[in-house]
């Protein structure tokens, strides 16, 4: 029994019977004894229990960190499933390329990007990660290796993108890159003081900018915040100098730094920050990955850890639904200063269980205060459910089977593709018989 395998929010705290490592992409899949199930574990950046498998096994993929091919002319890369985006960035940005889609941390594995069909600030423009995947190899527990693409094993391709690691282990992935002129971003920030203002600003920004995302003050019901828009910088006569700084939260804090008082203060300071009036140029690292600058940031919530909550609301009810969510959250006094609001575009996702779909998505952390927090999240669930929305499995530690099935009505189509030896904490939970 081992208790050292954790997801990013360190909830739930579970024990694994076996912690296995795949040794090479050409090697056999290591399987736990008997009928015990397993789930691939990449770099532990997803939240909740999609990457955990309590009382059973995980297969770590960190040995699969090799590049396989990089076509510098066409902008196409093939790498192993355990390669992290940071390594891709280091390789491709100096050559004038960029990942087509990136989540808020560059420490995710490429296999994880596929399995969770991750999205980024450019979803309205570009879709999610799966839209840019050309092919991948899936290693099944019976030893079969399936090359999957839209032409070959297309049903496996669809089941595996956003398939939460349940269809087998992704050993290697080929995906297309985005051309860039340099590693810098042109960005602009807009302050808004109500949700109405946000919708107006956002609609305009989405037409003009490939990347948009808003920070929102979750302590205020009216929904004030800042919208950050960005695009890759055009060729510049002179590039600014950028140097990364490394900071870390060195130890597990015994208590949470986030309480209702610090939360109000943080949000107030953040909202009132001085914003550049015009467009400005920033390196891609601070633009895309501000939180990566502090290692182990997840420790600020203390040993009780935290929940992450991310939902999507369909377009026609986004405004009302969001207003109701903000009402519930601000009234509760819980939440955190890391609340993020974004609208998804209309490009259909490739995966059977993909989360991104047209509408507005809200994501935020909640320090774990036990029952009180869970009750709030249940209230938020009913808002999301009655709006016809869905929760993001990659950030979930608690959604009910009913909530999952409402949000992912296609779920039954997934079943024939789930590897009989694969399961996860998440998957067991949402497949529990209702009652």
């Amino acid at each position: 029994m081992r208790d050292d395998i954790k997801s990013w929010n360190r909830l739930p705290a579970v024990r694994h019977q076996h912690v296995l490592d795949i040794q090479a992409r050409t090697a056999c899949l290591p399987l736990p004894p008997g009928k015990e199930t397993c789930i691939p574990f990449g770099n532990g950046r997803s939240y909740g229990d999609v990457c955990l498998n309590p009382d059973a096994a995980v297969i770590r993929t960190r040995a699969l960190d090799h590049m396989i091919a990089f076509d510098r002319e066409r902008g196409r890369i093939t790498c192993e499933g355990g390669v992290i985006l940071a390594d891709i960035l280091d390789l491709v940005t100096p050559q004038g390329w960029f990942p087509p889609v990136t989540p808020g941390t560059r420490f995710v594995t490429v296999g994880g990007c596929v399995a969770n069909d991750v999205h980024g600030k450019n979803h309205h423009d570009t879709g999610s990660f799966g839209n840019h995947v050309r092919s991948f190899e899936l290693l099944r527990s019976d030893g079969q290796r399936l090359i999957c693409s839209t032409e070959q094993n297309a049903d496996w391709f669809a089941a595996t993108i956003g398939g939460l690691g349940l269809t087998g282990l992704i050993t290697q992935v080929t995906f297309d890159l985005l051309p860039i002129a340099n590693p810098f971003m042109v960005t602009q920030a807009y302050r808004f003081s109500t949700l109405d203002e946000f919708w107006h600003l956002n609609a305009r920004a989405e037409r003009e900018w490939p990347y948009t995302v808003a920070w929102i003050d979750c302590t205020r019901q009216n929904g004030r915040g800042i919208l950050f828009a960005g695009q890759h910088a055009p060729p510049q006569p002179e590039l600014p100098v950028w140097k990364s700084r490394h900071r870390t939260v060195p130890v597990d804090l015994p208590f949470s730094c986030i309480n209702s008082l610090s939360l109000k203060a943080f949000n107030e300071i953040y909202y009132r920050q001085k914003l550049p009036r015009d467009r400005y140029v920033a390196h891609y690292v601070p633009y895309f990955y501000p939180l990566d600058a502090i290692e182990n940031l997840n420790r600020i919530y203390g040993t009780k850890a935290f929940y992450q909550y991310q939902c999507v609301l369909p377009p026609q009810v986004s405004a009302d639904g969001l207003a109701e969510l903000m009402r519930q959250i601000s009234r509760s006094g819980m939440g955190s200063f890391l609340a993020v609001l974004k609208t998804f575009g209309t490009r259909p996702a490739m995966g059977t269980l993909s989360f991104p779909r047209p509408g507005a998505t809200l994501a935020l952390d909640f320090p774990n205060m036990g029952e009180k927090t869970l009750q709030l999240l249940n209230r938020l669930d009913s808002v999301v459910a009655s709006a016809g929305g869905a929760l993001y499995p990659a950030k979930d530690a608690r959604m009910s089977a009913a909530m999952f099935r409402r949000g992912f009505p296609q779920w039954e189509k997934m079943l024939p593709f789930v590897d009989p030896r694969f399961s996860s904490g998440f998957w067991s939970r949402v497949n529990e018989p209702e009652g």
Partner: protein, 248 residues
């Protein structure tokens, strides 16, 4: 640009070193046991490389000492005369199993000490007439004092440590650098079975960077990270009468 030979190249620490050395523009000759893994590593380095560099490989069982001389000849043919040799192969013995088997104990000593002595002897003889070169060997803090929990591994690493002291002394006249690297706990496939990695643990990447720096600075002995020097100083200074009763 240097020509670098790495033994045990597919190990986690050696891979980290190879990637950093590649980025710095050096040529690499990689020796490993598993042909599949070596080829995966070579492809990876080729994809990452941005300049004209040679990356060559050889598959070998380093416990077969008779292959060692030929490996250096192959390296010289692929790259030209080597400038740096990194000996990074090794195994972490199951101490309990070794206690029950003399054969296994001897096998582990062979892997972790004798093969290293063979490889470094040959490297020294190559570098001595050149009057330059660096021999870097991954030892371990475990070689600083014998402990009940892993003294077979410790004894092998300790033998390497003393052997390299002598070799360094001999090579000083030839201005050849002999570097003993003593990592502490490193989170690698070799230690994957050990749960709950605490603050004393490092990543292979951190150790790799430390090795690159130490080679560049022509250091003699480095503890990685540095604080292990202090920890081992304390551990070495405990009187044997007390030490023998400790469960370290």
């Amino acid at each position: 640009m240097s020509n670098i030979v790495i033994f045990g190249a597919t190990s986690a620490i050696a891979t980290a070193c190879a990637r950093d050395w590649l980025a710095a523009g050096h040529n690499l000759f990689l020796v490993g046991r598993n042909a599949d893994k070596l080829e995966i590593m070579r492809t990876d380095l080729m994809v990452r490389s941005t300049q004209k560099q040679t990356i060559a490989t050889a598959t070998a069982d380093l416990n077969d000492f008779s292959t060692h001389e030929a490996l250096y000849a192959q390296a010289a043919q692929a790259l030209g005369a080597p400038d740096i040799v990194l000996v990074a192969h090794g195994s972490l013995p199951d101490q309990k199993a070794c206690e029950a088997s003399v054969e296994l104990t001897m096998q582990e000593i062979r892997t972790n000490a004798l093969s290293v002595i063979s490889l470094t002897t040959l490297a020294a003889n190559l570098f001595e007439p050149q009057r330059e070169g660096t021999i870097a060997v991954i030892g371990s803090v475990a070689g600083d004092r014998g402990r009940q929990s892993n003294y077979v591994y410790g004894a092998a690493k300790g033998m390497v440590d003393i052997f390299l002291q002598g070799l360094r002394n001999r090579m000083a006249k030839a201005s050849v650098t002999v570097l003993t690297i003593k990592p502490g706990f490193v989170d690698t496939p070799m230690t994957a079975h050990i749960p709950t990695k605490g603050v004393l643990w490092s990543t292979p990447g951190q150790i790799g960077q430390g090795i690159i720096q130490a080679v560049k600075r022509k250091r003699n002995v480095v503890y990685l990270p540095w604080f292990w020097r202090i920890i081992m100083l304390i551990i070495r200074s405990i009187p044997e009468a007390i030490f023998r009763k400790l469960a370290l």
